[in-house]
């Protein structure tokens, strides 16, 4: 028979839509509206997993986010998903689920041997062994690792898309049970912006799995009406399948919405999941409560479930998870489950209640139905292996710490519905900074004082009656809206529930072990196989802090983060240490509430959109002409332009020679550019650059060096004086944003009296550098209104004119040592001017070149690149640039140059290097030593910062920082390379080419 445990009627499933799915390869049927767990139970599947450490058989325990055992691998290939909680997976046609921790199969798991070895594997056993011989740890570790882990990660890139969105609201409500719905109604009616998020597919929370009545009708009718009303309110946003998983500072909350997870993979358009980042005015936490298990012998057998989960399967999914049930409780709420079972036609063998006196209204109804209630009894053991086959109970003594009977008696059952009381979901409150407080009556942690604008309501606050939940939800919703400036508006009043008084529960953190230390294992954390004895052991071994116990025993370390086990574990620790629960405390609640896919957290920031990609106005031309690109900061810069079949070296050789012999052209648009204006502009530059600016004439350019306040070189560039009160500053490509921020900061915070305005114009100007002996000819062909004659337009001058029909600023500056001009035009015309330059230069075989050739050309001249030849520990003097340090003024960083370490005489200094074997190009980053045979650590002199083959010199050249290098020209030093070779090189002046600077001055 298919679905043997499906009840003939009832539930919220759609019996008209039967869905085929498979579990461990076995084909099964369920209905639309089922969770995977419900469908498995309907098919009488009990064994769904093997536990992490002992590989004990495990079944479904819960019906929601707290489920510790039923973690299944869904789907295959790139779509596979590890550790999906069957209790939260909505069934879809074709779903394929496999269990994750049994080998060769779930039924016959060889690793179950661990269960036999359990005596050798107490908490923390691995710290005590596997240490000998020392080198063997790697092998032990290999075995340990193989045994570890649950699911498998996909081996392919994720085929799905994810999305992210940012919203603001007046009131965010986490949880859409009765309390949350009531809050949403009150807040929503006021006109406030409301977001109601619930992790389930349907709103209604606990009501969906109960048979509660409101105003004499099924409570789910009210849910339906409430949801309909909310959907009609324009400012209310309803987010089903959405877990509020993080509560961060300043009322920022994060929600993971599972947009298409309930659909078969692959067919859906839209994103798989969406991250909502919500900045909320007020937050109402209506996340309900989680029913605690009881800790007793073999309480992990498949068929031992939360009582409330049993009710949910019966009422919501029309599934009877067993034929004969025992109910084991310390409170009244589980009696509802007994009644649910009974009314569903499931035999209830007995209710076992640890309380001596049981006289509440619900127990009375259960007794009236003819069910035996064993008060003052506890289950001490469960029989059966892969499914429950029975249980044993014993009479407790008066304080519940021992037994008053000598032997247990048996009870036949295949299902145990347990309830150890309820733990309000204080997770979000706690994440928000609140400290949960222990409530002795409820024997539970409840929210404490709020640290942010949040309040908990309903079961999340410890209110367990339906009317109370509705009432406080409604009031909190209205109050939250009011605090945001929205007045309550009338609407239908909250309905009334039948109030059934509940008698106090009796804390029972751990059932006494009927065979002392030899008794069966009593599990506290199912997923991590943490038993009550492990906790006691940890305490015995001195791990007394609850945080130590967590880390020593793995309590609460699993994918459920201890939703079921933590409170029991902490209470057991308190008992063991003889201290109270409040002073034992809880471990820290951290996001996420339930695990969230990395893809969801990443959203669309993937691939090309991982980081902004900045392009110059001429970018597409470079692409069309086959450029290879280099990442420089966020920019893409042409690196070199290989012609058919050319390597990097070949292309660079050709490009460099063109610039030296005829003319080359480079896109220099990425340089940072800043307009500096105002009467104090010169004074400002005097302060931020090491050299003086007052005397620079209008129409002239000057190179400047900027230091950090620590005296180290920070940036450099050429600045032109456009007018008396107007300078045009350039910075390095990578340093542009930093320099702009640096300058603005000094102006605003330290020198507000200076009359200077800074405007970033990096993007406004496209810069075309025309470089080489023929550059003047190219410019002259393109521009008629500037006189390019050497005397009329000297080196380090700038002119305004019209280039290729475009108003331009032309700078005669040079980073190559050649005669060269940098044409700046509004970027809209950048490509036009570039193409005009190419056309005008065709006669000279003008050659575009990229950053690599630029590096070679400047290195031949000994020009530095900040960030390549410097690293944050280099002063101007180290670079041989003392000439740029003004003596008669203060500037940023100057004082630091006077510190003892800055004036040391043996600092590393910039030098040139020539390998003795001229064809050999030293690797950049090679270290230099005097004695390559010295014992390690070998004293190092410094390192190669830049190194190239110089086409025009026909040999290799390098720049290096070498201790005391300026005094050592002519010395031979050694570069021991990582591949074992040792290269000899001679220290020389860093200017390799045209030291007089004749070529740029023609």
């Amino acid at each position: 028979m298919t679905q043997p445990r499906r009840l003939p009627q009832g539930g919220r499933i759609d019996r008209s839509r039967e869905l085929a799915f498979s579990f461990n390869g076995r084909p099964l049927q369920g209905y639309a509206g089922d969770t995977l767990a419900a469908a498995l139970l309907a098919n009488d599947v009990r064994l769904v997993a093997r536990s992490f450490k002992y590989h004990r058989p495990r079944g479904i325990v819960g019906a929601g986010a707290e489920e510790p055992n039923a973690l299944l691998q869904l789907g295959g290939g790139g779509h596979t998903l590890p550790h999906q909680r069957a209790t939260q997976v909505e069934l879809y046609a074709g779903l394929e689920a496999v269990s994750v921790n049994g080998w060769p199969s779930l039924e016959f798991d060889l690793m179950a041997i661990n269960s036999r070895l359990a005596g050798l594997l107490p908490a923390g056993f691995y710290y005590k062994t596997f240490m000998w011989p020392q080198r063997f740890w790697g092998r032990y570790e290999h075995q340990i690792r193989r045994a570890a882990g649950l699911g498998r990660a996909p081996m392919e890139a994720d085929p799905d898309r994810y999305d992210k969105t940012h919203v603001h609201c007046d009131v965010l409500i986490a949880g859409g049970g009765p309390a949350g719905l009531a809050a949403a109604l009150a807040a929503g009616r006021s006109g406030a912006r409301v977001i109601l998020a619930d992790e389930q597919a349907e709103f209604g929370g606990g009501l969906l799995g109960s048979r509660e009545q409101l105003d004499g009708r099924p409570a789910t009718d009210w849910v339906k009406a409430a949801v309909a009303e909310l959907r009609g309110l324009p400012e209310v946003r309803m987010l089903p399948r959405s877990t509020v998983f993080g509560y961060y500072d300043h009322n920022l909350l994060t929600i993971a919405e599972r947009v298409t997870d309930h659909l078969p993979p692959g067919i859906s358009a839209g994103p798989r999941q969406r991250l909502w980042r919500v900045r909320a005015g007020r937050v109402v936490i209506a996340a309900g409560a989680i029913e605690r298990p009881l800790v007793f012998g073999n309480n992990d057998r498949p068929g031992v479930m939360q009582a409330s989960a049993v009710s949910t399967y019966l009422n919501r999914y029309a599934v009877a998870p067993g034929r004969a049930a025992a109910v084991f409780t310390n409170n009244d709420s589980a009696y509802r489950s007994a009644l649910d079972l009974l009314d569903a036609g499931v035999e209830v063998a007995a209710v076992v209640d640890v309380r001596l006196r049981v006289d509440g209204e619900l127990p009375a109804r259960v007794r009236a139905a003819g069910i035996a209630v064993h008060s003052g009894y506890a289950l001490v053991d469960v029989q059966g292996g892969k499914r429950v086959e029975g249980a044993r109970l014993m009479a407790l003594d008066s304080d519940g710490r021992g037994f008053s009977s000598a032997y247990p008696v048996g009870l036949r059952c295949d299902l145990i519905a347990m309830s150890g009381g309820w733990s309000p979901a204080v997770h979000l409150h706690s994440q928000s900074g609140g400290k949960p407080r222990f409530d002795e009556t409820l024997a539970a942690f409840v929210p404490g004082t709020s640290c942010q604008a949040e309040v908990s309501v309903g079961a999340a606050r410890g209110c367990f009656d339906l009317s109370g939940c509705l009432q406080e939800g409604f009031e909190a919703g209205a109050a939250a809206a009011r605090a945001q400036g929205f007045e309550a508006r009338p609407g239908a009043p909250m309905p009334a529930a039948v109030i059934i008084a509940q008698a106090p529960m009796m804390p029972m953190w751990r059932v006494p072990s009927w065979r002392g230390v030899k008794g069966p294992k009593q599990f506290v954390d199912f997923q991590n196989d943490t038993s009550a004895a492990d906790i006691a052991l940890a305490a015995r071994e001195g791990y007394r802090s609850v945080e130590h116990v967590k880390r020593y025993t793995a309590l609460g370390f699993g994918t459920d983060q201890g939703k079921l086990g933590n409170i029991n574990g902490m209470a057991i620790l308190a008992e063991t240490l003889g201290q109270d629960i409040p002073s034992t405390g809880t471990t820290t609640f951290r996001p996420p509430y339930t695990p969230v896919s990395i893809g969801t957290l990443v959203g669309r920031t993937v691939g090309d959109l991982f980081d902004p990609l900045r392009k110059t106005a001429i970018h597409e031309w470079h692409v069309e002409h086959g450029a290879e690109f280099e990442n420089v900061g966020q920019w893409k810069r042409p690196w070199y332009y290989p012609r058919q079949g050319e390597s990097l070296d070949q292309a660079v050789y050709r490009e460099c020679l063109a610039a030296r012999r005829t003319v080359g052209v480079m896109d220099a648009s990425t340089l940072g550019k800043i307009d500096v204006r105002g009467p104090d502009a010169a004074e400002f530059l005097n302060r931020v650059y090491t050299n003086g600016w007052t005397k620079l004439g209008v129409g002239r350019c000057r190179y400047g060096l900027m230091l950090g306040e620590d005296g180290m070189v920070m940036d450099d560039g050429v600045t032109a004086r456009l007018a008396d009160d107007h300078y045009y500053m350039t910075t390095t490509t990578g340093g542009a944003a930093h320099v702009m921020g640096w300058l603005e900061r000094w102006l605003q915070t330290e020198w507000p009296d200076l009359k200077v305005y800074l405007t970033s114009v990096t993007d406004q100007w496209a810069t075309v550098a025309v470089v080489g002996p023929q550059s003047r000819g190219v410019l002259a062909a393109l521009c008629q209104d500037i006189d390019f004659a050497a005397e009329a337009f000297p080196f380090m001058a700038f002119r305004e004119g019209t280039v290729a029909g475009v108003a331009a600023r032309v700078f005669r500056i040079s980073f190559s040592g050649e005669l060269s001009y940098e044409i700046n035009v509004p970027a809209d015309y950048g490509r036009h001017v570039w193409e005009a330059v190419m056309a005008a230069g065709a006669a000279f075989d003008i050659t575009p070149y990229g950053t690599e050739s630029m590096h070679v050309l400047r290195a031949e001249k000994g020009f530095i690149i900040v960030g390549q030849d410097t690293d944050g520990s280099v002063t101007p003097d180290d670079l041989g640039m003392s000439w740029i340090l003004a003596k008669n003024k203060d500037y940023l960083g100057r004082r630091s140059l006077l510190r003892p370490d800055s004036v040391r005489t043996d600092r590393k200094q910039m030098v040139g290097l020539k390998t003795l074997q001229p064809g050999f190009v030293l690797p950049e980053g090679a270290q230099l030593v005097d004695d390559p045979d010295a014992a390690k650590p070998v004293p190092m002199l410094g390192h190669v910062t830049s190194s190239y083959h110089s086409p025009c010199l026909g040999r290799s050249i390098a720049l290096a920082l070498i201790r005391n290098g300026r005094q050592r020209h002519g010395d031979v030093v050694y570069a021991p390379l990582s591949d074992g070779r040792i290269v000899r090189a001679e220290i020389c002046d860093p200017v390799f080419y045209d030291p007089e600077g004749a070529r740029q001055n023609v």
Binding site: D163, K164, T165, H166, V167, H168, R193, A269, G270, P271, R277, R279, G603, R604, T605, D608, L609, D611, P612, L613, R614, K615, T616, A617, E620, Q634, W635, D675, R677, G678, P679, K755, Y757, T759, V761, T762, D763, Q764, W765, A766, L782, A804, G805, V806, P826, A827, D828, Y829, G830, R831, H832, V833, A836
Partner: protein
């Protein structure tokens, strides 16, 4: 050179291709080539204020996050001493000359940034949702109405965002630096995919 110079907007390559079709609930377009001037000056100086008001035909917006419209000219508040003036295509340099003249002798700065940034237009019923995917600003009409502007971060790019809402629905303008335009366009187009009819 005889032929007149050819100019190219930063989205010349992509912006002309309708990434998001007409049937979609979001449309993306570029408004290229508008005149854009960055103005700096001291609002405490009556000379500055009077001169600018005179030239622009109305006052500068001094309320943070607001826009002032004077005829065809829109002025955006960028900071306590900074504004962006947007003019129709071609009018920028003339206005610059006039302003410069009017401000002669006082401390100010005026930079032509017409080439340095471009404008993207995001319109349609889902325009706000699309922007919210990449932007932390509150774009609800209660919080961000026509007439308001904000400099903010959209995905990885700084933008100047303003709301124009037209009769046919929401419309946002995004002024973005030229080098980021292509990235921003791709980012928006990628996010807009879900608003495309299948």
């Amino acid at each position: 050179m005889s032929e007149s110079p050819r100019r190219e907007s930063p989205l010349a390559g992509v912006g002309s291709q309708p990434v998001v079709g007409d049937a979609a609930t979001v449309r993306l377009a570029e408004r290229p080539f508008r005149g854009q001037l960055n103005l700096r000056g001291d609002v405490a100086s009556p000379t500055f204020v009077d001169a600018v008001t005179g030239v622009l035909g109305g006052p500068l917006p001094v309320q943070p996050n607001t826009v002032a419209d004077h005829g065809e000219v829109r002025i955006f508040w960028l900071g306590p001493d900074e504004w962006l003036i947007i003019t129709p295509e071609g009018a920028g340099s003339d206005l610059k000359t006039v302003l410069q003249k009017a401000l002669e002798g006082i401390h100010f700065a005026l930079s032509d940034v017409s080439s340095g940034q471009t404008t993207l237009v995001v319109s349609g019923p889902d325009a706000g949702s699309l922007l919210s995917k990449s932007c932390t600003l509150d774009l609800h009409p209660r919080a961000f109405a026509p007439g308001q502007c904000a400099q903010t971060l959209l995905a990885g790019s700084t933008v100047l965002l303003s709301r124009l809402d037209r009769a046919h629905g929401p419309e946002f303008e995004l002024v973005v630096r030229r080098s980021f335009a292509d990235y921003l366009w791709r980012c928006l187009a990628d996010g807009a995919e879900e608003y495309q009819p299948a």
